[in-house]
């Protein structure tokens, strides 16, 4: 197949300075003796900025290790500790890094004073948090939001997480857990919650989420204005730093770039041959795979994995907004989730899907075949499911993935 040049939007150039600000904040806070929390899953990130907590994300660290080519050694060490092969790659890397720091990517994560897990991406997060909390002998808090049934919310928007309705009991329970979480952070920091700061952080978050969700909506434009390289840092912003000034600054800049490009009707490739959905945690060790697909004229206007990290906040209803994270793609029963996906697929006018099954991730892997079937039954479009662990390059060599993908793209032609 003929290759084309990929015209990235260039979100990446803003990310370096943003991440540096994040690390600087961490460093300063650690020097000041602020408590450090390790966060697992889709937690209400805003609270970290309200309580000035050092927020560490072992999953993001693991993705970073994979992108630097270090994950193999860390996973080997994890296996030597007696853990099994079919667990989350993120967990494998972070446990390996703690057990054998000499093989891990630097800088290492600072030691936690507590862990926080959230259930709305997977229940595995609670187990991961427990293992890490145990390793350091620190307390853990579980944000025990319930799993949602279609009848609890009706239809929902995969990007904003705005639902047709919300079951009152479910919402009340989730909000009560958020209040408990605030109490937990009060205990960890020894400080009361600063109400003015809370309002201000929530305002920042609201503004951030408006830009953030709009960027993802604009991604669905024709031709597809951005590449997956552009999008790759978005989950970090969405999952972990909503509520920070530097997060807002980043998405504002990204928003400007994409608006400009959409206005000019420019795409990332000259000849957009296939508009595809991609889902699954990105194989961080092989992001060049997306470049390869895009060079072949395949673009990705819709990435439900990235969309997972989006949410639209309403600063006037802060706790309800934070609870809205429940209605993400991973936490809704298949029926509702597939409806939301098919709706977005129609909007994005896609020709097919390339789905990455992340070995060890049950939530992602168990939805791949239902997605394939729904897209075929509802829209008559084909899907390719590729086995692709997110941090272990050895489990699925990239050349094998390329062969499968190229054959799929040829079949679309």
């Amino acid at each position: 197949m003929e290759k084309q040049e990929v015209n990235h939007l260039g979100f990446g150039k803003f990310f370096g300075p943003t991440y540096k600000k994040h690390l600087t904040r961490q460093k300063e806070f650690l020097e000041r003796g602020r408590p450090c929390g390790w966060y697992f899953g889709y937690h209400p990130a805003e609270m970290n900025y309200v309580f000035d907590v050092v927020n560490i994300f072992p999953e993001q660290y693991s993705a970073y290790c994979a992108s630097r080519g270090d994950s193999g050694n860390m996973i080997d060490d994890y296996l030597s500790m007696g853990y099994g092969s079919f667990l989350c790659d993120y967990f494998k890397c972070s446990v390996g890094a703690i057990d054998k720091p000499e093989v891990a990517t630097k800088p290492l994560m600072p030691k936690p004073d507590f862990t926080v897990d959230h259930h709305t991406i997977c229940l595995g997060h609670r187990q991961m948090a427990e293992v890490h909390a145990r390793m350091y002998g620190v307390p853990r808090f579980s944000l025990t939001f319930p799993y949602l049934r279609k009848e609890d919310i009706g239809s929902f928007d995969d990007i904003t997480k705005v639902t047709e309705r919300m079951d009152e009991d479910v919402l009340e329970y989730a909000v009560s857990i958020l209040h408990e979480f605030a109490s937990f952070l009060k205990k960890m920091t020894g400080e009361e919650m600063d109400e003015d700061k809370f309002k201000s952080v929530m305002k920042t978050s609201e503004e951030t989420t408006k830009h953030f969700t709009d960027v993802l909506k604009l991604f669905m434009s024709k031709p597809t204005p951005g590449s997956q390289r552009d999008l790759a840092n978005f989950p970090f912003i969405g999952f972990f730093i909503h509520g920070s000034e530097y997060g807002l600054e980043y998405v504002k800049k990204c928003h400007e770039l994409i608006k400009e490009r959409v206005k000019k009707r420019e795409g990332i490739v000259q000849d957009e041959k296939f508009r595809l959905i991609t889902h699954g945690i990105m194989p961080w060790h092989t992001l060049a795979l997306y470049d390869y697909m895009e060079e072949l004229g395949a673009t990705f206007p819709l990435n439900p994995y990235a969309n997972c990290s989006a949410v639209l906040h309403d600063s006037k209803r802060p706790f309800e907004s934070m609870a809205r994270r429940m209605s993400n793609f991973c936490n809704v029963e298949h029926e509702g989730m597939l409806d939301a996906l098919v709706k977005k697929a129609k909007e994005a006018d896609v020709d097919g899907a390339i789905l990455f099954e992340n070995t060890g991730c049950r939530i992602v892997s168990l939805v791949m075949r239902p997605i394939r079937d729904a897209l075929h039954e509802e829209l008559g479009i084909p899907s390719l499911i590729v086995e692709a662990p997110q941090c272990d390059p050895r489990a699925m060599p990239v050349e094998r993935m390329k062969t499968q993908i190229e054959a799929f793209l040829e079949s679309l032609e």
Binding site: M81, G82, Y83, G84, S85, F86, L87, F91, H119, C122, L123, G124, R126, Q127, M128, E130, V131, A133, R134, P139, R140, F141, S142, T144, F145, P146, Y147, L148, R149, D169, V170, E172, Y173, S176, I177, E180, F184, E333, H334, E335, E357, T359, G360, R362, I363, S365, L366, V367, M368, R369, P370, D373
Partner: protein, 374 residues
Amino acid sequence: MNEVDEKFYETYGKKTKIREYQGSGKKILGSFCSYTPEEIIHAAGLVPIRIFGERTDMEEVNTHVSSWICYYARRCLEDGLQGDYEFLDGIVSVTSDDTNMPMYSIWKKEVGANYAYLVQLPFAINETAIKFYTKILKKFKRSLEEFYSVKITDQRLKDSIKTYNRSRALLRELYDLRMSMSPKISASDTLKIMLASYSMLKEEFNDLLEGYIADLKESEPLNDEKIRVHVSGTVLHDVELLEIIEGCGVDIVSDDLCTGSRYFSFNVDETYEPIEALSRGYLSSKTTCMTCSRQGVYPLDERLSYIRDQVKASGADGVIILGDKGCDLCAYGLPTMRKELGKDIPILYLDVDFPLAAEQYKTRVEAFVESIKG
């Protein structure tokens, strides 16, 4: 055929009672997890049963789920897809783990069910969670009432709770006979009885078990001097595996299996309003997965404490952990479990998958027995 096979195991294997209930017009609902509040289904005049997969050749299921998912889920789905559960009118599942939730959706679509309901767990154990779960169970009750046009009165619920509590008490009594220093029943026979309890109405099961226990008490102990072992794991319904272990000179005297002591490790307090009582009861159950846990404690500590209590009470000489490499609930805690339990007692870990590698298991269990005997 021994008495247990005849009285109990046939009920599971040949589904004799299920066919009988169907013949009399009763509707059967299948479930996948010990957290399922069966009493509510029972009080609706329906028959709650547990779904197990018997097939070991995976022909259909890999089209729908990844091949590395836990064998319990794969085997259940395989049986469902092959039509072995056509007699079910519906399914009830709970949000107890990352496989159960999608499996419910996949079953609903691919196998089909007239009635399907997903009970949402609060994942926590405290008064707020109990209040929330009470509301969830009330919704479940309403859903059954509406779909099956029945009225589940408080009295019916109280009666069902009483029946289930009686069942739990009898099963505890049976386990005590297995746990005694001169066991009167083997673990494989006990499992056959457990499987029967999942395949028939509890009131009938209770009558059957009560009579059997009375006879068992009068019987001679199993005439053997074997190594006493505790078995740890999640859902196990393969009698053959326990027979292999027992055949190596082992008495399995206690367990913490979902299909074992975990199933009856709690009681529902009959002094509360019935739905609240169920909410409190099920959240207090010490399930293997510890999906619902308390803030401020490590859930695995609670599991370890349960196992240690069982080991102490049974006087077990060793622990055999039956692992499922596809079960994340087992796998995250496994190294810690091995390390912590191993401080006090010899441990053997067996990675269980199907078809069973019988000879491999025999070799390993025999070596374990030898190591304990010294």
